[in-house]
């Protein structure tokens, strides 16, 4: 059995995809090791869709974010950032927002310093 299954490799597919728990865990920890920017984008897009479909908790989004410290693709960061703003306004319990904001701002500060 593979450790994780990459659904919709190279984004050829069109349909309803849902990552299983084992794959989620692998991608949360190893997303940055996937060479193809397109496949990284497919996985992040899938997790964002799953958050919106209430199949992936918004509180775990910072785990995904921390895999993107070296990410150069601004479109990908933009997509994730839009999901963060949505999480902040609707998907996170109000009491979880301060911790989420703190982690997200800290990530961007660190990334900004690295990219200088």
């Amino acid at each position: 059995m593979p450790a994780a299954i990459l659904l919709n490799n190279d984004d050829w597919g069109f349909g309803y995809f849902c990552l299983d728990d084992d794959s989620i865990k692998v991608f949360e920890e190893k997303l940055s090791f996937i060479n193809s920017a397109l496949n990284r984008s497919v996985i992040i897009g899938q997790l964002i869709i799953m958050m919106r479909q209430l199949a992936y908790p918004a509180t775990r989004m910072p785990i995904v974010m921390n895999q993107l410290m070296e990410e150069k693709n601004q479109n990908l960061i933009n997509a994730l950032n839009s999901a963060f703003l949505l999480a902040q306004s609707t998907y996170l319990p109000p009491e979880a927002v301060p911790k989420f904001n703190k982690e997200t701002a800290a990530f961007y500060f660190k990334k900004a310093a690295k990219e200088t």
């Binding site: 199949a55 319990p93 109000p94 979880a96 701002a105 961007y108 500060f109 900004a112 990219e115």
Partner: protein
């Protein structure tokens, strides 16, 4: 600059507010002792100043000093509007009460722009949730009267800006359903708004449950 731009929307925590306020005071962005090559835009400074003012972690003198520095070479209309929002956003229960009275006063002579500023300052769900709580019930008890008696432009800002739907409590769901039952098709935009709030509450409730129960470890 791309990352700084993104970070600003999430700066609410006191250490981060202090860090970004220092950037305004020093005129440069410094992270971990190193100055970045980019500069804060006026928009960034406004966002930082507004979040700093709404925080309970800084004194009024510190807030005034930051405001003075932010606007030292900025006499734009936007800066004047931001200055007002800052003054309206202080974490003070009496100020909240006064603003609520002014916002909901049907005889007000304030312009729509001024009322917008007051609502923007009043509503601080990220940093002043406890101060907001008493106004959730007040919102439910007055919103129909506002919709019936005030101009639509004001109504749309009021109902959207001050909605407690994000709390997604049982009482929020009941209150919005009750408002929907009593609404009529004459003001379709209001009926659609109420339906949207009920949908939001449903999503937030389910999402909260998922956040609390999801386990894959």
């Amino acid at each position: 600059m791309f990352c700084i731009d993104k970070a600003i929307s999430f700066v609410t925590e006191s250490d981060h507010l202090k860090l970004t306020a220092d950037w305004i005071h020093q005129g440069k962005i410094i992270i971990d002792g190193e100055a970045l090559k980019c500069e804060l835009t006026p928009g960034h400074k406004y966002s930082i100043l507004k979040a700093y003012y709404a925080s309970a972690h800084f004194t009024l003198d510190e807030k005034k000093a930051l405001k003075e520095k932010t606007f030292e070479n900025d006499n734009s209309d936007a800066s004047k509007s931001v200055a007002k929002i800052c003054d309206y956003s202080l974490p003070d229960a009496e100020l909240k009460e006064q603003l609520w009275r002014e916002i909901t006063d049907s005889q007000t002579t304030d312009s729509l722009m001024e009322l917008r500023n007051k609502m923007a300052g009043f509503w601080q769900r990220k940093q002043q949730l406890e101060l907001m709580v008493p106004y959730f019930e007040k919102y439910y008890s007055i919103v129909n009267k506002i919709v019936e008696t005030r101009e639509r432009e004001f109504v749309e800002v009021f109902i959207n800006s001050l909605s407690p739907a994000f709390m997604a409590r049982e009482q929020d769901e009941i209150a919005f359903n009750e408002l929907l039952k009593r609404s009529n098709d004459e003001k379709e935009y209001y009926t659609l708004f109420l339906k949207k709030q009920i949908e939001t509450i449903d999503v937030t409730k389910k999402s909260r449950h998922l956040c609390e129960t999801f386990k894959i470890d």
